[in-house]
């Protein structure tokens, strides 16, 4: 099974079974025997790594592989890609016994550079989701695959007769060359057929803006490493903008290099970019265009319609002018086409070198709102007889105003290809299970167009079919996904290059270069101002930081990961400025009825410091109605209010308090603006007073070998939660559910504290990841009655689960409160193939906490000793460190003066949290660098 899959380092030749000859010699001649053993050993090396069973069970199974070649699959890494809105990030999938257990970033992929985001990390969980769809269904009942093939054959015959009239294909955003090729083939075979794309998170205005500015569907790809001043008009390069991992890395690298780009964020709802911006301007959608226009005017952009004003514009314009070619303006989701065009125009005026204009990575860029609307109209008109919905879920995430569900009922033959039996599956006679990205072959493009092959890391469920399989079946020339992908690239590379480029592409996880940047002139008449919005509150629809558009709503890890700025879990809330809320006499948790365009929903209110006044942010992705218990009914469904054209902003929202309360589960119950001395700040180039090692009554313990330590650079942290989720995935950390979280029983070993400082209407935010501090004089240890937590010889504060009797007094005495207690037994939920076999499961009633990924240390140590060498600096990478997009986390050996960690500790910004308590933490921090005085919000 999994032996079919080529591992990351290219497929090895399967070793032969032992030859009797070799054996006979081997048994008598030692030298020959060693050779025979070498041959065998190569194949048997990693056999029998099973180990997730009940520990104390006698006669516990010991798995021996069927074939020698299976052994190598028992622990292999695969380089592949995962998509977000059709654009890929490169990842490396670690598998055990054929099961993916962890996703990590692919250093060679431009959209990852070795980092991951929470969505990539969660792929392991969705892969093992018991609620995923596994059977082909007709009207909800499982049917044999043959029936589907039959149905498709009949459909083909029927359609061929009329040149495909009435056939419509609806996909998500398609960047895959292979899928595009197949769609092309289908459209060629059925001239009357149409292909529509749907993506609830697509930014049609950006496309429209690009078309206005350059007459071509181009994308703006920033290079924050080259920029000196960056104006983000609602753009979120550190958050959910495509390529965010790359942009975050560039930004952090530049900042670390002392040439920090001055980040100016003008936005309505605080984003991760806004949180870390040097200057943040709360800007409601009503004033956005006017602000951009004012800036453009001051910079003397040609072909500009008059008008536009904003108090902050002059300063921003000056800053951009001063930056010159190192200035950059980006408009993001929520801005209208005019603003996007303005941004392009300003960049053109500045001659910005900090951005590239690249051909759109999608195979067929189009305004998706319009595309879907057109389809819905045709369906409603009864012109659609056959509809294939491939990997999209419009019944949920199309604007309710479109009435897609009703229209879908009018389609005689509709087939839904999806990973879950979601809202759309319920409305289609046919449902076909879609394979998980980690199970199937494919290809894709990154935000900058870099192509990559998607290879499976585990076996495919028998009945699942990819888009390519379905389409090829429709064409009557069924072809497996792998062949289709190989075919695409054989054509792309040519037959003779293929043989060596293919394995290389699989090994590297990258299949080529990004296309060259285009140099396009501004086309005339680019500036078409939009009529200013007015009347009532503005509703701003935004992707939820945790579940985005709702497609990820069924991943418990994501649901329970506190949203970076609100700390809300397992749901969403209507976010608004505290002033706005106060004006309406609302406080957090009040239930309100939100009405827009004649439709209304109930939602809890959440006053959010720094939110622009006069508008309400409605996160998408809540209120799922199907697909599994995890996602169903979490929060409200904002699609119900979204206008039919799927725009991001709608004016005229009305809001009525019902007088009831809705519980918003959050891990942030303190609402404090002042971080105390947990967060330290230094002036640029400044440094903190470094206290000399505090006096102690006791002689220090010697740590002769390694002395592990961690430093976290608060200045680099963007609060993206990747570390926290990586930790959860790596260490088998359980999900406890909304009730337990509201009781204060969440289990995350690594939490990210968010602090607001400054005025409530526009505060500065900082993030502080807090793992175990591994204090050298750990307060938790002397209070344990049974020696269940103590120090090891390398200075780690270890927690010995089997010894713990659960007095919880250690947590009492932990000033950082990083210890977690198993209030109930989570093991039965964790003991799946998805678990990390290197980390033991914790029973009910014991404490647990961050271990510095001690199993990684151990593995590295034994590898080193097997190879007879010392550990190298950077050889041990903790899960959080590996995931961090900005490389904010450093880990290593304090005894090695040249190690990265030792250098970090010598940095002037180094400090220990609550250092005055004399706990001598091994985890320490690097202070945040203050924004310049004039930048202070």
């Amino acid at each position: 099974m999994s032996a079919r899959l080529p591992p990351r380092h290219g497929p090895d030749p399967a070793p032969e079974p032992p030859q009797p000859a070799a054996l006979r010699i081997g048994l008598h001649n030692p030298a020959e025997r060693r050779d025979a053993l070498k041959l065998m050993g190569a194949s048997l090396a990693l056999a029998a790594l099973a180990g997730c069973d009940d520990p104390d069970e006698f006669g516990h199974p010991l798995h021996a592989p069927a074939r020698a070649s299976d052994a190598e699959a028992s622990a292999a890494d695969y380089a592949t890609v995962l998509e977000l809105d059709g654009l890929s990030r490169g990842v490396i999938v670690r598998t055990r016994n054929g099961h993916p257990i962890k996703v990590e970033g692919n250093p060679q992929h431009p959209a990852s550079l070795g980092a991951t985001d929470i969505f990539a990390e969660a792929a392991v969980l969705s892969l093992h989701d018991p609620n995923r769809s596994r059977r082909i269904r007709r009207d909800g009942r499982p049917v044999p695959a043959a029936m589907l093939d039959e149905a498709l054959a009949m459909t083909r015959a029927e359609l061929q007769a009329r040149g495909g009239r009435g056939l419509r294909i609806l996909t998500g955003p398609v960047s895959s060359p292979t899928l595009a090729r197949m769609l092309g083939a289908v459209l060629a075979a059925f001239p009357e057929a149409r292909w529509h794309q749907h993506d609830p998170l697509a930014d049609d205005a950006a496309l429209e803006g690009a078309l206005r500015a350059f007459g071509k569907p181009v994308v703006l790809v920033p290079d924050l490493g080259l920029a000196r001043t960056v104006l983000c008009l609602g753009a979120d390069p550190l958050g959910h903008m495509p390529g965010h991992l790359r942009h975050a890395r560039d930004w952090a690298a530049a900042r670390a290099g002392g040439r920090a780009p001055r980040l100016i964020a003008a936005e309505a709802a605080p984003s991760l970019t806004g949180a870390r911006a040097d200057r943040r301007i709360p800007l409601g959608p009503a004033e956005a265009e006017s602000f951009a226009r004012a800036v453009a005017t001051m910079l003397g952009v040609e072909g500009l319609a008059a008008g536009g004003s904003h108090p902050a514009a002059a300063d921003v314009a000056a800053s951009l002018r001063e930056a010159g070619t190192e200035g950059l303006v980006m408009a993001g989701t929520g801005q209208d086409a005019a603003t996007h065009a303005l941004a392009h125009a300003i960049n053109a005026r500045l001659g910005s070198m900090a951005r590239r204009l690249l051909p759109h990575p999608l195979a067929r860029p189009e305004p998706m709102g319009a595309s879907l609307a057109a389809l819905a109209a045709e369906m409603a008109a009864g012109e659609v007889t056959h509809l294939l919905i491939l990997g999209a879920n419009p019944a949920y995430d199309a604007p309710a105003a479109l009435g897609f569900g009703a229209a879908l009922r009018r389609v005689p033959f509709s087939l839904h290809l999806g990973y879950r039996q979601d809202e759309t599956a319920r409305l289609c006679p046919w449902h076909v299970p879609l394979p998980h990205p980690l199970e199937s072959w494919g290809d894709s493009r990154a935000f900058d167009g870099t192509p990559a092959i998607r290879q499976p890391a585990t076996a495919l469920p028998s009945e699942a079919r990819g888009e390519v399989e379905v389409l090829s079946a429709l064409l009557g020339r069924p072809v497996a996904a792998r062949e289709a992908v190989e075919e695409t690239w054989r054509v792309e590379w040519g037959e003779d290059d293929f043989s060596e480029r293919w394995p290389a592409a699989l090994e590297a996880g990258v299949a080529g270069e990004a296309p060259d940047a285009l140099d396009l002139p501004l086309s005339a008449g680019w500036d078409r101002p939009t009529a200013p919005l007015q009347g009532g509150l503005a509703a701003i629809f935004s992707p939820d930081p945790g579940v985005r558009g709702g497609a990820e709503a069924h991943e418990a890890w994501l649901q329970e990961m506190p949203r970076p700025l609100t700390k809300i879990v397992w749901g969403n809330a209507a976010l608004m400025a505290p002033a706005t809320a106060a004006g309406l006499g609302l406080s957090s948790g009040d239930e309100v009825e939100l009405s827009l365009g004649g439709r209304s929903i109930l939602a809890p209110v959440w006053p959010m410091p720094g939110h622009a006044p006069g508008c309400v942010t409605l996160p998408l992705g809540g209120g799922r109605r199907a697909g599994g218990p995890v996602g169903e009914g979490r929060g409200f469904d904002a699609y119900a209010l979204r206008p039919a054209d799927g725009t991001w902003v709608a004016q005229g929202l009305s809001l009525r308090a019902t007088g009831r309360k809705l519980e918003v589960v959050t891990t942030d119950s303190h609402h404090r603006l002042d971080p105390g001395d947990a967060i330290r700040t230094v002036a640029p180039g400044g440094s903190l007073p470094q206290p000399e090692r505090d006096a102690s009554l006791y002689r220090d313990w010697p740590y002769p070998g390694h002395a592990w330590g961690m430093a976290i650079d608060i200045d680099a942290c963007i609060g993206c939660n990747a570390c926290a989720l990586a930790c959860q995935a790596e260490n088998n950390v359980p999900v406890v559910g909304p009730l337990a979280v509201s009781q204060g029983r969440e289990m995350h070993w690594l939490r990210v504290d968010r602090y607001h400082h400054g005025p409530e209407d526009n505060p500065e935010a900082s993030f502080q990841p807090v793992p175990c501090m591994h204090c050298e004089q750990a307060p938790c240890e002397p209070v344990c009655p049974v020696n269940a937590t103590l120090h090891d010889h390398e200075g780690l504060n270890v927690m010995v689960y089997p010894r713990c009797i659960g007095t919880r007094t250690c947590s009492n005495n932990c000033p950082y409160k990083v210890r977690r207690f198993n209030w109930s037994d989570h093991r039965r939920f964790l003991d799946t193939p998805a678990r990390n076999p290197d980390v033991s499961l914790r029973p009910r009633g014991v404490m647990e906490k961050c271990t510095y990924c001690i199993h990684r240390i151990t593995t590295a140590r034994s590898t080193a000793s097997t190879e007879g060498r010392a550990l190298r600096d950077g050889e041990v990478e903790t899960a959080c460190q590996r995931a961090c997009p900005t490389r904010a986390i450093t880990f290593g050996d304090l005894n090695d003066p040249e190690s990265a960690i030792s250098r970090a500790r010598r940095d002037g910004r180094h400090y220990a949290m609550l250092g005055h308590l004399g706990t001598r933490p091994r985890t320490t921090y690097l202070a945040r660098i203050a924004t310049d005085a004039e930048d202070a919000p």
Partner: protein, 223 residues
């Protein structure tokens, strides 16, 4: 006045007191003895195996080297189990008793794993690295006993925490020269003391005059 208790009452009372005390001591002693007995640790108890495999025949009789089947033992944490192919590689030709090898053939046919029953498995929370131990000169026999004399494989040592600690506190006592690690009959201790090449230098260090060895730290075996 009449006596409430007979003359024998005192004797009885004393008897009861003495017996009670004795009983308490006895129970304690019994418990102490039991947890140190083989029964408590399933020593010598064979497990149900898919194939009636005999180490006595293969390792003892044929004299196969441990590494022939458990090839990972020098390089990886897990010693490694032979694949079905490995077994049949020989048994296609010698001693081809189809009935016995059905599970192996089934495994190859379905590409599934053969589930042997481990008799010396450590709990989930304890980690044992075969490579580390063989390299440190700890012989197979130290933990697994005289496997080559076992027609049915059984547990030879308690493998309790104290069993591990005894060795970790004084590694030299159980370390053998490189050649002897996989040897069937390890040379007598006296010779070992003389010829020991690579006693694991458990770098011990002093603290407040007490010698502490990293080998006994929790994280050495637990994670």
């Amino acid at each position: 006045m009449a006596q409430i208790f007979s003359t024998r009452a005192d004797a009885r009372l004393r008897l009861v007191l003495i017996v009670g005390a004795a009983l308490i001591l006895l129970i304690g002693a019994a418990a102490f003895a039991y947890v140190r007995s083989g029964n408590a640790w399933a020593i010598g108890r064979p497990a149900e195996q898919p194939v009636p495999f005999s180490h006595a025949v293969h390792a003892g009789g044929l004299g196969l080297d441990c590494r022939f089947c458990h090839a990972g033992v020098e390089r990886t944490a897990e010693a490694g189990m032979p694949s079905a192919e490995t077994c049949l590689g020989c048994h296609e030709r010698v001693w081809n008793v189809t009935a016995q090898f059905a599970p192996l053939r089934a495994a190859i046919a379905q590409g599934t794993a053969v589930e042997w029953s481990s008799v010396s498995r450590l709990p989930d929370h304890a980690r044992f690295d075969h490579a580390a131990h063989t390299q440190a000169g700890v012989g197979c026999e130290t933990c697994h006993g005289k496997v080559e004399e076992m027609p049915r494989t059984v547990k030879a040592e308690s493998l309790s925490m104290s069993f591990c600690l005894d060795c970790h506190r004084d590694p030299l006592a159980n370390q053998q020269p490189a050649g002897a690690v996989f040897a069937r009959d390890a040379p007598p201790a006296a010779e070992l003391q003389a010829m020991r090449p690579h006693g694991l230098q458990a770098q011990r260090y002093e603290h407040y005059g007490i010698e502490v060895s990293p080998l006994t730290r929790c994280s050495t075996c637990h994670q």
